[in-house]
């Protein structure tokens, strides 16, 4: 290794593939976060519901997912669902389904904390001007909660983005999968993994910066 000669031409030649793979990972993360937010919000409302038949299963779902390795869920849904006769999904769809279900559990915890932190007076004020329950949620509770939870949502997006690397295990051609492939074909170990690491790092950093800007834009409305 002392005499390892770096040869970046492999990377240069494959740069378009690397960028496409990175883009795919980012896309998977964003879609999964979006679906996860919708599902997670439903789960969060179920968890704070006074009805035990709603809050119980919601609690179970969240705890179950949080204790499960993501890789196991990915395999279970990809290899297991066909056993139940569900065949329509290709591996990318299967992965998005998995990551969304996974994200839903984490997002529901974020939203639950957000719901709990909304001052009672807001809801009472909304009641006082005669808003109906769903209006109170739609126009008062949710907008406030969105602002409170924005930093946590950002963090989750970055986590999910890093989690897309696990899609490599079922051969979804995202960055980690591509890196392994190029590594196997060229043996340019250092170049390949340094590039992949740098791309993940840079993207995570850019996301964090970008989201902080968004947070600041909303921070003024408090």
């Amino acid at each position: 290794m002392i005499n390892y000669h770096f040869d970046w031409s492999v990377i240069a030649r494959n740069m378009d593939r690397f960028l496409a793979a990175l883009g795919l990972g980012l896309g998977l993360a964003v879609i999964s976060l979006a679906i996860g937010c919708v599902l997670g919000l439903a789960v969060a409302y179920a968890r704070v519901s006074p009805r035990r038949w709603l809050s119980g299963p919601a609690w179970f779902y969240v705890e179950l997912i949080r204790c499960m390795p993501l890789l196991l869920l990915i395999f279970f849904i990809y290899f297991g669902l066909p056993e139940f006769g569900i065949y329509f999904m290709d591996k990318t769809q299967s992965f998005v389904l998995t990551l969304s279900l996974y994200a839903a559990a984490y997002m529901s915890e974020v939203f639950r904390a957000g719901l709990a932190s909304i001052p009672k007076q807001y809801v009472e004020a909304a009641k006082a001007i005669g808003m109906r329950p769903w209006q109170r949620q739609r126009y008062v509770v949710l907008p406030v909660m969105f602002r409170i939870t924005l930093p946590a949502i950002s963090n989750n997006l970055i986590s999910l983005f890093k989690d897309t690397s696990l899609a490599a295990a079922i051969a979804v051609p995202e960055l980690t999968f591509l890196a392994r492939q190029v590594n196997a074909n060229t043996f340019r170990v250092m170049e390949v993994w340094l590039t992949a690491s740098a791309m993940y790092l840079a993207t995570a950093y850019l996301l964090a910066t970008l989201l902080r800007l968004v947070e600041r834009r909303y921070a003024s409305i408090r």
Binding site: C67, L70, L71, L72, S165, Y200
Partner: protein, 225 residues
């Protein structure tokens, strides 16, 4: 699931596979335990550097932590696995994986420790100084005990992440619980059954870990301020 004891049924096949599965489970638990111990010890060092270190060291620690948190664990594991071999360091896949996981978890413990230590009011450090305690004594007797309770919940979380993270060792061929289960499925095609079994075992391990964390938290709940 068919629970009768004939070949091809879940119970029979699970009994047949009991040694491979338990072996996988022990690899999962073993690698998790080693990683958690290593990461805790190193994380304390890095965390204290983050909070109080001489500024070049602090910068180095900060870079390390941010790098580790920006790169997916799987990439870390693959990089370590292929990279170590390149350096002529021949370590088994198990250790390559444990090194990578520990490097990742160290960053989390360090950041957590920094946060907890800095949440201790400044007056505590001053009071400790004023009775003449040295820096190491101030940390050991005054700051760390108070930071400890605040560190516990995220520390347990890191532990759960580590246990879940050990599944990634299967990618570099370490036969831990997930890969062991998949090897069993390859023989008997009871895919759903054995994924569920593996899932139940992960649940049990993580549940136990979370309970342990809860117990510790209650044990130290007198540390109020």
């Amino acid at each position: 699931m068919d629970f009768s004891m004939t070949p091809g049924t879940f119970l029979f096949e699970a009994w047949q596979a009991r040694f491979s599965l338990l072996n996988g489970l022990s690899v999962t638990i073993g690698s998790s335990a080693i990683t958690i111990v290593l990461a805790t010890l190193l994380g304390i060092l890095v965390g204290i550097t983050l909070a109080y270190g001489w500024w070049p060291l602090r910068l180095l620690a900060r870079l390390y932590v941010d790098f580790m948190r920006g790169i997916p664990v799987l990439v870390l594991i693959l990089f370590t696995y292929y990279g170590l071999a390149l350096f002529g360091i021949n370590v088994p896949a198990f250790w390559a994986g444990v090194i990578a996981l520990s490097a990742f978890a160290t960053a989390h413990v360090a950041e957590n420790l920094r946060g907890a230590v800095q949440s201790v009011p400044a007056g505590q450090m001053e009071a400790a100084k004023s009775i003449g305690l040295r820096f190491d004594q101030r940390l050991r007797y005054v700051i760390i005990p108070q930071a400890f309770r605040r560190m516990l919940p995220p520390w347990v979380n890191t532990g759960l992440e580590v246990v879940k993270g050990t599944t990634l060792l299967s990618v570099i061929g370490v036969v831990e619980l997930l890969l062991a289960s998949q090897q069993v499925m390859a023989r008997n095609y009871l895919i759903i059954d054995f994924y569920l079994l593996a899932g139940a075992m992960y649940l049990a391990v993580n549940f136990a870990l979370a309970q342990l964390g809860g117990m510790l938290e209650r044990r130290f709940s007198y540390l109020r301020y």
